[in-house]
Amino acid sequence: MATQTGQPGALARYGTEFREFLEETWLGYALVLPSVVLMGIIIIYPTLRGIQLAFYEASLLSPQQQTFVGLQNFAQLFGAAGFQTALWHTVLLTALAVSIQYVLGLGLALALKEKVPGAALFRSLSMITWVLPIIVMVIIFRFLTQNGFGPVNIILGSLGMETTAWFGEPGVAFPLVVLMHVWRNVPFYAIALMAAMKSIPDTQYEAARLDGAGPLQRFRYITLPQISYVSMIMIVLHVIFTFNNFDIIYLSTGGGPLGNTEVLATYIYKQAFQQYAMGYAASIGVTMLLIMMVFTVVYAHLEARD
């Protein structure tokens, strides 16, 4: 009896609660809906399709014909010399670029945080390399290192040193690519780290000074610990940017000379849009995604433990 009378009452109560809940939240859902729909169609769906494609053999020339091949793409991938080289280049580039960017960014941050006249102007000026279109940066660097009349070669020539088209030199192209990454992103690190430094109260430095701590000690025990959170964000962001970056390398060297600067992103692009091997290309993309997810989780975990 009790349950029989209780049920409709409970149901009605749930109904009212649900209506009240909707009244409070429907607009919230409605406002966020356009962005969710657009992202769902243009980012989420293609990503899921890309993951699915990784298990199929499919050609860009006849996208309708797709054969399920299980893990065959991945098996082929890990045995391919091209993939191994590209993976190694990607990891090396990311490690080199991010660590050099961080150290140089830290240096610039220390200078820009000082209260000298004009610091604000220099803060803004330094950001120019970061907002520049990548194609423009690439054109600048290609011009500077151009054989014959490129300024770098004019200077080297007048010193009696070897001149050549440096982007075409197997041993030089890779360092040049690292240099471009560094040149572009150092200001971003500098501004973010500078802001973190400026939020440290001066009183802490004064107290340390009174305790006899030198500049290096103050930097080590006051500055570094308090910029560690922003440092983590910057490093994770840039590892992801650099690992996934396509434009800088594709536009400057195209992966050459002789595959010396081939990274995963350019390798995928070529596999998909020049070899038309869609499934194979997708399996590389999935591998990249997995590596980045593992990296982010491990890094965040390590940082949380500290």
Binding site: T25, G28, Y29, A30, L31, V32, P34, S35, V36, L38, M39, I42, I43, Y45, P46, T47, G50, L53, L60, L104, L108, A111, E114, K115, V116, P117, S126, M127, I128, T129, L132, P133, I134, I135, V136, I140, F141, F143, G148, F149, P151, I154, I155, G157, W183, V186, I191, A192, K198, I233, F243, N244, I268, Y269, A272, F273, A281, A282, G285, M288
Partner: protein, 303 residues
């Protein structure tokens, strides 16, 4: 005697120079420290800005100078020929207009969609909200080349290949997650007590958004708009697969106009590159204060 007085005067002027420098500087800044700071900043600025400055300099000189293996142009080398040639090239004009249409439309769409989404994420509580926030951020991690393949097939199916609309849609969606995230950071900074007061006065949510939130976060909107604009203006990857003809080419892709497989018209390529960066630099000059501030607070706070 004479040398002594001389020395004294030099010392005196030195001291007065140091004094003046000292007076000009903040209280806790010694002149020596200031000079060291300027030296470091100077090194960095040379490294960062000299390449850009040199490119711009060369575009104002004749092609003969560029190919002459000289580093410093003489006064007679300066000319506006390169700009005249590039700006009167029909295809360059076309690409520039395409870029402008794509970037401004993308920015407008992203801002409208982003402001609505950011308001929802900042002011409403509902199940799935934190999941959504995480998804917005997570999309930034996806390799774009992975999205590219199915995205290309999809655009092919719905016939948006080789249309400016297809490019605009792609860029907008790429901009929405970061734009929304930034805007939410700025909206969160506006005290909720203002909303409550407005609600008491009978304002609806849309009134609050239009009359309080948006006007009070104009710097944030400027920054989000700027990020979206450069994302679209600078994009090469998506344009390279979506654009098939000159009618839909934007500048980063269109700069190939001045280079072929074996020959590059450097004087024209550099000039076109300079013109490509001008809108970005001008916009940056307008919003730089807020961009730098936002990177410092709003941008990081959310993350």
């Amino acid at each position: 005697m004479a040398t002594e007085t001389n020395q004294q005067t030099t010392q005196a002027t030195d001291r007065s120079f140091a004094d003046r420098l000292d007076a000009w500087l903040a209280e806790d800044m010694s002149p020596r420290r200031a000079l060291a700071v300027y030296a470091v900043i100077g090194l960095y600025m040379t490294f960062l800005l000299l390449p850009v400055f040199y490119m711009v300099l060369v575009t104002f000189t004749s092609a003969e100078f560029l190919y002459s293996s000289q580093l410093v142009p003489a006064l007679s080398d300066f000319t506006l020929d390169n700009y005249v040639t590039v700006m009167s090239t029909g295809l360059f004009q076309q690409y520039f207009i395409n870029s402008a249409i794509v970037a401004t439309t993308t920015t407008a769409i992203t801002l409208v969609v982003g402001v609505l989404a950011a308001y929802s994420l900042s002011r409403f509580e509902y199940p799935g909200r934190s999941g959504l926030l995480f998804t917005f951020l997570g999309t930034q991690m996806l390799p774009r080349v992975l999205i590219l393949i199915p995205f290309f097939l999809m655009m092919f199916t719905i016939g948006l290949i080789d249309s400016l609309l297809g490019i605009i849609v792609a860029h907008s969606v790429l901009g929405i997650p970061l734009g929304t995230w930034l805007l939410k950071g700025y909206f969160d900074d506006i005290p909720k007590s203002l909303d409550e007061a407005a609600k008491m006065d009978g304002c609806s949510h849309l009134d609050i958004l239009g009359r309080i939130i948006v006007p009070m976060s104009l710097p944030g909107i400027a920054v989000a708009g700027f990020y979206t604009f450069i994302l679209s203006w600078n994009d090469y990857l998506f344009v390279s697969i979506l654009s098939q003809t000159a009618a839909t080419r934007t500048l980063p892709f269109g700069l190939q106009l001045f280079q072929s497989q074996n020959a590059v018209a450097w004087e024209l390529l550099l000039t076109a590159a300079t013109l490509t960066m001008v809108p970005v630099i001008v916009l940056f000059a307008l919003v730089q204060r807020w961009v730098v501030e936002g990177l410092a607070s709003g941008g990081m706070k959310g993350a």
